[in-house]
Each structure stands twice: as C-alpha cells, then as structure tokens.
Amino acid sequence: MSAPAGKADVLIIGTGAAGGLMAKELAEAGLRVVCLDQGPWFRPEDKPHRHPDWEWQRATRWSTEVNIRGLANDYPIDTDSEHTLMWSGVGGSTLVYTAVWPRFRPSDFRKGVEHGLAPDWPISYEDLAPFYDEVDRMVGVGGVDGDPAIPPRGAFPVPPPAHDKLGECAGRALDRLGWHRWPMPVAILGRDYDGRAACNNCSACQSGCPTGAMYDVSLHMIPKALAAGATLITDARVEMIETDAAGRATGAVYLDRATGIRHRQEADLVVLAGNGIGTSRLLLMSANGRQPNGLANSSDQVGRNLMHHSAAIIEGFVDEDLESHKGVINGTQICEEFAETDPSRGFVNGFTLHAVRLNGASYQALGAHSAKRPPWGAAHHDWFRSHFSRGFAVLVIGDDLPLPTNRVTLSETVKDSSGLPAPHVEYNLHENDKRLLRYGIDRAVDIVKAADATDIRVGDFVEADGRYRPPTWHQLGTARMGDDPATSVTTPWHQAWDVPNLYIVDGSSLPTGAAVNPTSTISALALRAARHIAANFTELRRADRPWSA
C-alpha cells in the first residue's frame, strides 16, 4: 500500500468548518499537515448562480439533501427518520449552508445543572468566548453590537448584509409583541473585508456563494492552509483509522475514488472532523480486534446522542411587497425571547425564532419552505400575484435533548460508491422536544399574525404518514466531549479517551446543541483545539494517555 504524501505531523480527515480551520491553524504553526477529503474541489463557477435553471439545480444536483443529490462523492444516508442535509467535498457543508452565526449562551453549557436531562459541558461559555471572538474576525462575521440577550462580546468586524423591507416587517412584528429581536449575526459580509467583496444580496445562499461574500472554508480557509504548507488530497475516501498495539492511531487507509487504489497516510496525530454522522461512521468502521465496538468507543457513546435541533417553519403573507426573493436567506432578525428554560411553558430547554426569506419564483410557487402547495390551474396566477415577494417565514430552532436512542450505526444494506457501509440514522423527538416544538410553532404564528399576515402556513415537517421527518442540517453530539470516560468519547480537549493521539473535532463533540445554528461554536472549538495541539504538540505526538488524566 503506497503512502504518497509521506508521514505527517497531523492528519486531518474532513475539510469542513472544523477540519479546514484546524488545517490552517496547524500549518501556520509550522506543523506538517495532510488533509484528506472524500470529495473534490467545487469551484465558484461550478455553482448554479449564473444559470437560468439555478432553482432546478438547487433542487437536484445542488440540493442540500444528500440523498437527493446522490453524487459519488457523497455517502448515502440509510434513514426513515429525516432528510439529512450535508455536503461532501473541500469545505464541507460550508459550501451550501446559510452562514448563520449566533453563539451558544452560558446556560447551554450547564444543562446538567439546570435540569439534568443532558450533561454539562466540561468547559464553560467563558472558556470559549475568546475563541468565538477570534473566529468572528477570521471569517468576517457581520452583526450589530449591543445585543442584551447574550453576554458582552467583541465587536463585530463588519456590519451585516441588508435587511431592508422584510427585516423591517419582521422587526415591527416582534416589537409589537414586545419580544427580543436583534439583527442575526451571519458570516456574510455587509462590506468588503479581508480581500473579499461585500454580499450583493443575490439570495441564493443555500447553493453556496460564488462571490466569496459568505464564509466558505474552501475559499477562505483551505487556501491559507495550503499557502502555509498543508497538503490536501481530494477524492480520498477514508475507510479506517489504524491503530498500533499500544492503541495509538498510526494514520488512515483511504481509497482514491478516481483510481480505486488504496493508500495509507501515516501521522503522529490524527484529527477526525467528518461531522456528527460521518465521524461516527468512520469510528464504527474502524473497529478492530482491540476495539471491536468501534474505535474510541469503550463508552458505547459513539453514534449516540444525535441532535439536530427540532425545527418547524411558519410562513405568513402580508399586503406589502417584502422583496422576499432578495437578500441573505436567513439574515434579518433573530428572536431569543424563548431561548432559556422556563418550566412554566411545559418543557425544558429553549428555542429561537429566525425571520427568513423565501428564495426564487419556482420555490415560492411550490410553497416555499413550508412546501404547502399553492393552487394550480386558473387560480394559480392570481395566487402568485398576491403572494410572490409578499411573504416571510419564521424558522423555529429548538434545543433537542441528547437521547442515546437517537443514533448513528452502520447500515447493513446501503453502501456508498466505494462499497463502504452507509450510516444508518435513527432520530425521533423526545416528548419534551415535541412540547417545545408545539409551543415554538404557536409563537412563530404569533409573529406572522403580528405582522398582519393574511395567509399563514405551518410547515411542521410531519409527512403524510404522520411521522416527523425534518431537514437536518446540524449533526451534533455523537462523539461528545466530557470529564468522564464512561459517558463521553473525548476529553475536554477533544482527545479520544481510548486513543490518545486521536482528536475528534466537529459537531459530534458538542454535549448539547443549544437553540441556534452551531457553526460558530464548532469553529470556536476547532480554533481552541488547534491552539492546544500546536502549543503541546511535542508531548501530544508521543501521548500514551489522555492529556487531562
């Protein structure tokens, strides 16, 4: 088996939000970094934004849903529980996300104390705060200073992109209700920054951003990693992480998807950053005689505690042109009025509400995010006249509990294009999550009513058979960090309890998911982990036991 890149100091598997940032940091620290990604580069000109069929492409080849795309660089998801959203390629899912960038709040790190239905994090908000601030400057987060719903924080490096009419409408509604609102922090530029041009409000954020105004790891982090000397091997599908007799990781075996040839990449230290589903899958595929239940899985927690956020989306149509086909898709107002636990509501944990735009004409003519189909036939054109550009949506993002039964395992029937087992995903809401979601839907309806909406559509993601199958962007919790090797997979520094030179850094690391999009937190954790590794690499490369033990 060949080893084309030679031995690395650090091997990083996956080049998404966490892996890409760590590659840049570790390479700039002078370490010899090799990155493997199962996908290729996707160039800005590959994206659909300049083509008249852009909406069709977004629904198919550029769909955020992996099982609709079905591309060879993807791995399919064997599930009847959800519509899994992710991207496999250089930059990971930052190619097709919304770049929504709020922070977790201090109580999100202390759910064990607060109610005991989820664990405390082994670190606090204050531990992570400086890394949040630094990442914001690195990626160019747009926001408005002074939000009283979060702790004091460093200044935003740029203003957010335009809100305009839709943001004003949602803001008026929230003011009428007397609820918290604030301009949503987004990793999208409201003015030029770091050699990147400001957003021009094209609104097709979910097919990636060809201009670079939206933070995309493949455009903004990987090039810096390569400039600092990192090596990136694309179309490299890792089939297992190998360990030696002492239980230390020695590297990974990967398949070159173009040739089918198997290679071995050796390294002193391995970082696994494949997202909450891909990381679990690879750990389970890496089972060996010494760790037969999967690598780093003596706790039996690998793949468990999968969190996605409970979700619903409510649309309201008003008698006013909101230009809802223009501007950053989820870049106007966030309401954190209900983000903290209040048991008098009938559940623990909280949720946030986001004012969201509605995309292009085809998408709106199919019912937009709620997918509640408008009339067809003679009534359709009148419907379009009275609804197009006049609606907005309120997205409910709920903090779902980590349940051991919500789980990633290996499929017994479905394989990827290389013949490797696909992940099987089982995900169901706890009764607490259901109550939270029902309450959240009612509050979202309150908002669109307060905007004087005349037509309200509730998208609860319950399908015809009565089952809740949400679109799941956020893959969290399946290799969580903790203080106790019996209940967690890694130390507070992301070091696998069972494999001292294996670091797991991505959404799977999060013990709880909070009530907001997680990429800012994943990125802050990645920066913190990278700084730790860089500062202690001489010891860590020889580590035979966990750092914190």
Binding site: P52, G146, H381
Partner: protein
C-alpha cells in the same frame, strides 16, 4: 430547508397503459395539455405549453427518473382522459396518485418559472427579478442599526454562575428519563 420536489417514489406504479400504447404525437399533446392545465396563463402570464415548459419537464423526468418517465406520466394522464380533458385528468391524477402528480407538477414549475417569458411577466408585475442570482444581485438598503435594531433593546441571558436547577415538579412526563 428541503427542496420542494417529491420524487423517486410512485413512478414505478403508474402502469395504467403501457409505454408504447400512445403515439409520440399523443404523448406530446397530453403533456402539453397537462402543462396548460397547471399553468393556463392569463393577461400577464403565458400558458405553460406556449413557453415549452412541458418539453423541459419531460427531459428532466427522463434525466431524474428514467428514460420512460415522460411516457409513464402521459399514460397515467391518458388513462384519466388526458387527451380529452387535461384539467380533469390532472385533478384525477392528483386525487388518485398524488406523488406522481406532485413530482410532475414540481418539475413543471421549475421549467415554467425559469422561462424568459415568465420572468418577463414577473417583471411586468413590478418586481425586480433577475434571470439568475449572479452576477447582478440586488441593490438593497444597507443595514442601519437605528432602523434595523430595536430602539429599546430587550432580552436577557442567564449567566454561567447564575444557572441553577429549575423546578421540574410540573413536568410529569419527564419521569421517564432519556
């Protein structure tokens, strides 16, 4: 957020007529009739068949669902009177085989709204609407905190040291712990 198409299932079941029982001309007329039933046109909007949306739909059905997919749709419509009364046939298909109907409708919708004539109609309604998102984008008012943030900020958070156990006594359903 999910794409608004519902494909992959249902198409294998539409076997009211065999693929070769309709002539090419009849298939074309049925698909054109279906297109106009869904988007018949009015003073602003052109009928779907006039802009050729059914052809784009058929090509994409073939690309995504297999070479015989357009013919299967035509057969399903023909079995419901699609040559004689396209609107009634579409309504029957919607009622009797929703997944097939909805997929065809979704494919047709993408084809219709990307056609230049329909984009011109959207503009004629007074909307600024680009053929494609880039390179032009849209000019919008930049964020102004005095307009886009609340005049009197509201909101709070529980600080790390202030987090304490909440009273769960009213949440009986939590007795079954995860």
């Amino acid at each position: 957020m999910p794409a608004s198409i519902n494909e992959k299932t249902g198409w294998e079941d539409t076997n009211e007529m065999t693929q070769d029982s309709l002539s090419a001309g009849a298939t074309a007329r049925i698909l054109a009739g279906f297109a106009d039933a869904i988007f018949p046109g009015d003073d602003f909007f052109p009928p779907a068949a006039l802009v050729g949306a059914q052809g784009v739909m058929a090509a994409r059905l073939r690309e995504r669902l297999g070479s015989g997919a357009p013919e299967r749709l035509a057969a399903a419509l023909a079995a419901r009177g699609g040559l004689e009364n396209p609107t009634a046939a579409a309504a029957r298909l919607e009622a009797e085989d929703y997944r097939v109907f909805d997929t065809a409708r979704a494919f047709l919708t993408f084809a219709y709204y990307e056609s230049p004539a329909v984009i011109a109609a959207i503009r004629a309604l007074g909307h600024e609407y680009n053929d494609a998102p880039q390179p032009k984008g849209y000019a919008m008012r930049p964020v102004d905190p005095s307009r886009d943030a609340p005049a009197v900020p509201r909101g709070s958070y529980v600080a790390t040291e202030a987090v304490t156990r909440v009273d769960l006594s009213g949440l009986d359903f939590l007795a079954v712990r995860p």
